[in-house]
């Protein structure tokens, strides 16, 4: 076994760079916390959607970006999360504090189980199997015998919760902070995970499964657990979405949602954590902007927002083939070239 003795614990963090980074984080944190107080209710609602998408994108990215398993059907887990939330709260009066984690666990179970057939399917075959999931779930939600639970084609209504403890927040503001709390926890968990031996195992499986197994990685366990974890993230996002929108409906969890999540992780950067925020901004706002651009172009272009969306997507893939995260990395590389070189004191000879 690994000998847990540390030979030398000279863990010097280069001072100046670290502080600048920390200062930037604090400023960013203040902006994120302050935003809902300066914006209209609708804008706050949109930002909550962005946070929810970011959680879902991170979930899919753990599976696809880090572990190399393609899923075109994660909208299904979004649906399971949303419906778990709605059924627990509307039919059983369960508190959302309880219902959101339960939605996550249910989706973990569903994803973990789906991970087993996924073990036997690689690449495009897995994409097709998950595509089937995306097609099937919205239909199952409309299935007549399930109506007493799912509300059939009409879906289910949820009441948006008020802020607890008498906090002076509107419902939209409170939901924003609730989503932010969930995202903070899940992003923290993922960024720990991907830097650990488990993260290395996930990436190793993506890069070279046979070599990974030779290193002692349990392929089946890591792949199925990653599938479960990924589904859990998307399930929590679905639950938060149900709560924030106040409504779940089979048609809001269709194929389009599944594909949007895939678009989001590619735009944000495969195998990136924070790039998912950019991916989420993209899938929340760009369709709207495409709509506005098509309005500007006049009557003839009215029906073309998705064509404009498509052109934008292609342009982005040309400009940043590795997504926002890749663009950020190369920007940082180029930026460093123009800065004066600073000798780090800890590395003096």
């Amino acid at each position: 076994m690994l000998n847990l003795e540390l030979a030398s614990s000279a863990e010097a963090t280069s001072g100046a760079g670290f502080n600048a980074r920390r200062a930037a984080m604090v400023v960013l944190g203040l902006i994120v916390v302050g935003l809902p107080f300066g914006l209209s209710g609708f804008r706050v609602f949109q930002l909550s959607q962005v946070i929810i998408y970011a959680i879902a994108l991170l979930g899919l990215n753990l599976l696809t970006g880090f572990n190399g398993q393609i899923s075109l059907g994660h909208g299904a887990f979004f649906a399971i999360g949303g419906y778990s939330m709605a059924i627990l709260s509307a039919k059983f009066g369960v508190s959302y504090w309880f219902a959101i984690p339960v939605a996550g666990f249910l989706c973990f179970g569903a994803g973990f189980l789906f991970g087993f057939p996924a073990l036997r399917l690689g690449g495009l075959y897995l994409a097709l199997a998950t595509f089937a999931l995306a097609l099937a779930v919205p239909q199952l939600l409309k299935f007549k015998p399930f109506d007493p639970w799912t509300g059939g084609v009409q879906g289910l209504l949820l009441s948006k919760p008020a802020a607890p403890l008498g906090l002076p927040l509107t419902r939209d503001q409170w939901l924003y902070f609730l989503c932010l709390l969930g995202a903070a926890l899940l992003f923290w968990f993922s960024s720990n995970l991907v830097k650990s031996r488990i993260g290395r195992a996930m990436i190793a499986i993506r890069d070279h499964p046979i070599a990974a197994e030779t290193m002692g990685v349990d392929l089946a366990l890591v792949k199925t657990t990653t599938f479960g974890l990924s589904a859990a993230y998307v399930g929590v996002a679905g639950a938060l979405s149900g709560l924030t929108v106040g409504f779940v409906n089979p048609d809001s969890f269709g194929l389009f949602l599944s594909l949007s999540i895939v678009v989001g992780i590619v735009v944000g950067g495969l195998g990136s954590i924070w790039g998912m925020v950019v991916g989420a901004l993209f899938i929340e706002f760009v369709p709207n902007y495409a709509d506005q651009i098509s309005d500007v172009l006049g009557e003839g272009a009215k029906a073309l927002p998705w064509a404009i969306y498509g052109v934008l997507l292609i342009l982005i893939m040309y400009a940043a083939p590795e997504g926002a995260a890749g663009a950020g990395r190369s920007l940082a590389r180029h930026g460093r070239r123009f800065l004066p070189r600073r000798e780090s004191p800890s590395r003096g000879t």
Binding site: M1, L2, N3, L4, E5, L6, A7, S8, S9, E11, F189, S190, N192, L193, K195, S196, R197, I198, G199, R200, A201, I203, A204, R206, D207, H208, I210, A211, A212, E213, T214, M215, G216, V217, D218, L219, T225, L229, G271
Partner: protein, 270 residues
């Protein structure tokens, strides 16, 4: 399934010191017999060279040792236990490290990460422990990093620690693989054609490196190699295979003088 047959030396006094013993190992792919009753032993702390013309079954034997292939007959015993039926991923944990003929690095990972993952089998902690970042996991991570950095130092890889493995030249990538295989402090190191594709100078450096690895760590090394000069100079024992059978097993001098070995090589050259 219990092993039906034990090697001739299974109860010998000499086998007590054998770290690895291969007995009557046979495997066929369709109609092709890749290994046919292969038996030999390697004593702890020795360097054993495995030679033979192309298609003799050397890599097949390695893949049986790493459990990538399942032999149809025979048994491999390592460190006192049978490897028959042991899961592929347990092999590293038992103390067998290996490199691959055509390299099997994790291309998108850095050199440091590639070496760090070499410790996977001997480290602990799953998704939750690592996701929450418990002190135990963080502490272990620091130790893994220290050990990997020491290996980078040993193999002159410090300068490329942050480089992506796939961006490096072939010779460097081979050293990364070697460092990765040693990260778990194996008892047995399997090297599959370590000299292939290396320049003359690199082969010389490799020879010194392999000997240093054995001398410093006392690790037993089984080496598949076409580079005769290298094999004959560093091996304590040489096993020659031809058409899936052992045709010679002894000291480098003995094997070099063996008629079957000469015939196998000249036959191929003609």
């Amino acid at each position: 399934m219990a092993a039906p047959w034990r090697g001739p030396g299974a109860n010998d006094v000499s086998s007590a010191a054998a770290l690895l013993s291969v007995a009557d190992l046979s495997i066929r792919f369709g109609g092709v017999v890749a290994l046919d009753g292969v038996s030999f032993e390697v004593a702890a702390g020795k360097i054993c060279g495995l030679i033979g013309p192309n298609g003799a079954g050397k890599t097949t034997l390695f893949n049986c040792l790493s459990r990538l292939y399942n032999p149809q007959r025979g048994e491999i015993r390592f460190d006192g236990r049978s490897l028959n039926g042991v899961a592929r991923r347990r092999i590293a944990e038992l103390g067998v490290g290996r490199t691959f003929q055509n390299l099997a690095l994790f291309g998108t990972m850095t050199v440091l990460e590639n070496v760090m993952i070499g410790t996977h089998a001997i480290a602990a902690g799953g998704f939750i422990v690592n996701g929450i970042g418990l002190p135990f996991a963080r502490h272990q991570e620091r130790i893994i990093r220290e050990r990997a950095l020491a290996l980078l130092e040993e193999f002159s890889l410090v300068d490329v620690a942050k480089a992506r493995a796939s961006d490096l030249p072939f010779g460097t990538r081979k050293r990364v693989e070697l460092a990765r295989a040693l990260a778990l402090e194996p008892k047995l190191l399997l090297l599959d054609e370590p000299a292939a594709g290396l320049s003359h100078e690199e082969v010389d450096a490799l020879r010194a490196e392999i000997q240093a690895i054995r001398d410093r760590r006392g690790v037993t090394i089984l080496l598949v190699e076409h580079h005769m000069n290298l094999v004959m100079r560093i091996s304590d024992q040489v096993v020659a295979l031809d058409f899936g059978r052992v045709i010679a097993d002894g000291s480098p001098a003995e094997v070099r003088a063996n008629r079957d070995v000469i015939r196998a090589y000249l036959g191929e050259a003609a």
